[in-house]
């Protein structure tokens, strides 16, 4: 259900794998890619570092929280680590549910928490120089829309 890997993934195959159940009416996928531009120039590649002992657990917690908020029928998360060239796939989240709003919301929720809670760090290479990506305030504030009261 959750994979952290250096290998690439096949989005279509992962989506198909979640469509097996007859009561599924909606499948939403999110694919994150290495963009070729950063504020300081053209990005040729990135390097993704993670905290192996914690990353899997952190993603499991995020997925459990999503499952407790929405009636999901399937969840798949793949996050790559290591060197990735511009245009390569970084992350995949696929969620299936009976209804579309649950699937959309859960996929958005998982990505928002993954971005600001899961221990991954991105270094961008511009002209052969590595720069650690700074966290965006917008990633943290994106969590506000999921606060319940």
């Amino acid at each position: 259900m959750i994979s952290i890997q250096t290998a690439d993934f096949d989005t279509g195959a992962e989506i198909r794998a979640l469509q097996g159940h007859g009561s599924i009416g909606a499948v939403v996928s999110f694919t994150g890619l290495v963009r070729d531009m950063a504020s300081h120039g053209a990005v040729t590649a990135i390097e993704l570092e993670h905290y192996p002992a914690m990353t899997q657990r952190s993603l499991e917690t995020i997925v459990e929280q999503a499952r407790s908020r929405w009636p999901l029928l399937g969840v798949r998360v793949i996050h790559r680590v290591g060197y990735l060239s511009a245009g390569e796939q970084i992350v995949l989240v696929v969620v299936s549910s009976a209804h579309r709003h649950a699937a959309f919301d859960a996929a958005g929720y998982i990505m928002d928490f993954l971005k600001s809670r899961a221990p991954f760090w991105k270094k961008e290479y511009v002209d052969g120089q590595g720069h650690w990506v700074e966290a965006k305030v917008s990633d943290e504030s994106a969590l506000d829309r999921w606060s319940q009261d």
């Binding site: 994150g32 905290y51 657990r57 952190s58 992350v91 899961a118 991954f120 760090w121 650690w132 966290a135």
Partner: protein
Amino acid sequence: MIKLCFFARFREKLGTAEESMTLEGPMTVTALMSLLAGRGGAWQEVFDCPRGIMVAINQEMAALDSTIHDGDEVALFPPVTGG
């Protein structure tokens, strides 16, 4: 003994990914950071100000006033930027 882990910019700046440290007794994360900053040089630069530092104790996100106990794994890192 506790295990300290550093990641990303911190790991590079400190020139080390992890170390073991003897703990006199339970202490807060803030106290640990002061202790590390006291080493001077890159350590001071990284841990002088707790702003922009995230901490996990035993692979769970923790706070600046969380208590560290003997045997814990304490990870210190900059805000995450995955996905």
